[in-house]
């Protein structure tokens, strides 16, 4: 019994070690696209500049107070934009990574190696999971320096705590979508639309209170809104770990369902492709 447990532990740790290889590979790939790296940052800064001027037309009273103090629109939206990076990775990058593996023909090579499909799925987003929190922090620092926004930097810890639940939730959804891409080859349009609808009925760019009354309960239940509420309370107010615990606990069961759905859907898609003999088709 103990031997089986030891062998399982050794197998699991060997799979976890493989994740660093994915990170290294993706870092090298990213460095090979230097212009894309620069343009990613430029577009994000450009987005903030636009919202900075839009914010000049928005009365701060329309935005909820956090920790008892009124916040500006740029502070409100900057947290929303920071969170979209997580959505981009979880939905966009995972899907495009699977598609790229199909196009390069590396998906078969990867699946023919003794690597668990769950490791491969995690590996596809491993680099971004590390990069996004760093990118998010640098982004908030830049917004603070360039546009005079005020953030509670001690709130980064509680934000990371929320992301522990929100990250896997989005990753699970991304893997479900990736399974769709694996099966139907095209599917990014539908996924893009779903992502857009998801983002609109949240509070990324505007408070949920401005939405039509019938849409508000839906938006309040949206996991993005839940995560944003927690993040804003921490970064714009004074909320600590204990204060964001309700949001965290609200996200955890959804995350568990999404992760299980993702793993099951991806395995089913692989099984189907093997059955059809079309795994290498792109």
């Amino acid at each position: 019994m103990a031997q089986i447990a030891r062998s399982r532990f050794s197998l699991a740790s060997s799979e976890v070690r493989k994740l660093s290889a994915f990170v290294r590979r993706d870092l090298l790939e990213m460095l090979s696209y230097r212009l894309a790296f620069v343009s990613d940052w430029l577009s994000m800064i450009g987005q903030v500049v636009v919202f900075y001027f839009v914010g000049k037309m928005v009365s701060p009273e329309t935005i909820a107070a956090y920790g008892g103090s009124q916040v500006s629109y740029i502070e409100f939206v900057a947290v929303g934009i920071a969170l979209t990076a997580v959505l981009d990775v979880g939905l966009g990058k995972v899907i495009s990574a699977v598609r790229q593996e199909q196009l390069y023909g590396t998906l078969e090579a990867l699946l023919a190696s003794p690597t668990a499909s769950t490791t491969a799925q995690l590996g596809l987003a491993a680099y971004d999971m590390l990069y996004v929190p760093i990118r998010m922090t640098i982004f908030l620092v830049l917004v603070s320096v360039l546009f005079g926004a005020h953030f509670t930097w001690t709130g980064l810890g509680p934000v990371a705590f929320i992301l522990l639940a929100f990250g896997p939730l989005v990753w699970g959804l991304g893997i479900v979508s990736a399974a769709g891409v694996l099966t139907f080859r095209k599917g990014t349009l539908v996924i893009g639309f779903a992502g857009f609808a998801f983002a609109v009925a949240s509070g990324i760019y505007f408070p949920v209170g401005v939405l039509p009354t019938w849409l508000q309960p839906l938006a309040e239940a949206n996991p993005i809104t839940v995560a944003l509420n927690g993040m804003r309370s921490a970064l714009l107010g004074t909320a600590g770990y204990r204060d964001v615990l309700p949001e965290f606990l609200q996200l955890v069961p959804i995350a568990v369902v999404c992760v299980i759905a993702g793993i099951v859907a991806f395995r089913a898609a692989l099984r189907r492709e093997r059955g059809l003999g079309t795994l290498g088709l792109y």
Partner: protein, 347 residues
């Protein structure tokens, strides 16, 4: 003849036939029985059976569309068969998608698409070595060894996207050799390689075979199987048309044909009829036939030997009638003859 299955064992050449399966099971790396696979209306494989022995190179021959790649992909666990069984290392419980199964088999695919194009060949190898379970330092050193072994040391930090077809093939073989595995499935590995490169790759594969690996080598380069492969399976339209040793395979050929150059053969048609051609035909009576070639009248004749007749017999018969043979060339290799004989003509 074309519809028969030729089995080397029946000719006394020692290939493992169905009855051998259980007797020599310890030596058998892969036991394929009755594997079939259909893609829509096309039957890619029909009841294919094959035994791959440890420490041997088993050539898988066949024209385009014969089912070679489908069979390799089934063995690699990338495609499911519709019917039939694949038993690896004598363990029927090993699932084709299991981690253990995938640790046992390495595959070199036929196409170019199997690497990350934006990163270097070495980095690709390091990545896959990690996927095979090596730790970072081991992966790096093993990647460098294999990179050099396939003759890519000059490629250094070049991105794979800039590799030629041949370089990608070499890299693909290097990947298969990263972590020794008992079974190698190699699909058209020498297809885009120059003769030296192809010989180098075959040498590397032969080394792994000496160490006990079993290699299934799919190819259309018929010339390379002589002196390299131990066994041959020939597929045609998804069916096994031949299974046996290379020697037995070469024996499945029609009467051998030779291009012979005889003194005084390059004379007018009338002279020939009266002279050298008629005398040659007479001398070869019962041993074979001799006819003018379709080429310009340059003194060469085409000599086709009957079955069981060896070249020296025919030449002896010609020389006995004082016909001078100036040169004698094999018109086509026995391997190519056998291949053409066992496969359907291209439609």
């Amino acid at each position: 003849m074309r519809e028969e299955l030729h089995v080397g064992m029946a000719m006394g050449t020692g290939i493992a036939a169905a009855s051998d399966r259980d007797v020599g099971s310890r030596e058998i790396a892969i036991d394929v029985r009755g594997v079939s696979r259909r893609f829509d209306k096309k039957e890619a494989l029909r009841g294919v059976s094959l035994l791959l022995r440890r420490g041997t190179v088993h050539a898988l021959l066949g024209p385009n569309g014969a089912g070679k790649t489908t069979l390799l992909r089934i063995l690699a666990g990338l495609v499911d068969p519709d019917a039939g069984t694949v038993v690896v290392e004598g363990d029927p419980s090993m699932e084709r998608t299991s981690r253990r199964y995938r640790s046992t088999i390495r595959m070199t695919p036929s196409g170019d698409r199997s690497f990350y194009l934006r990163i270097s060949g070495i980095e690709n190898l390091v990545f896959f070595a990690r996927m095979y379970g090596l730790r970072p330092k081991q992966a790096k050193s093993r990647a460098q060894e294999c990179f050099a072994a396939v003759g890519l040391e000059h490629a250094g930090d070049l991105r794979v996207g800039r590799y030629s077809h041949g370089m990608q093939k070499r890299l693909s073989v290097a990947r298969a050799l990263l972590v020794p595995a008992p079974i190698l499935l190699i699909d058209e590995a020498t297809h885009d390689l120059d003769p030296q490169g192809a010989a180098r790759i075959r040498g590397l594969i032969r080394e792994t075979v000496e160490e006990g690996a079993a290699v299934l080598w799919a190819t259309q380069r018929l010339d390379e199987i002589r002196g390299f492969a131990d066994h041959v399976t020939l597929l045609n339209r998804g069916e096994v048309r031949f299974e046996g040793t290379v020697r037995a395979f070469m024996a499945v050929s029609p009467p051998r044909r030779y291009l012979v150059h005889l003194r005084d053969a390059a004379k007018s048609e009338n002279d020939r009829e009266r002279g050298i051609l008629a005398r040659s035909q007479e001398a070869l009576d019962g041993l074979g036939r001799i006819v003018p070639t379709d080429e310009a009248d340059d003194g060469h004749l085409l000599m086709a030997l009957e079955e069981d007749v060896i070249l020296s017999q025919a030449l002896g018969a010609l020389m006995a009638t004082e016909i001078e043979v100036l040169a004698c060339l094999e018109e086509r290799s026995e391997i190519e003859e056998a291949f053409l004989n066992l496969t359907d003509p291209e439609v």
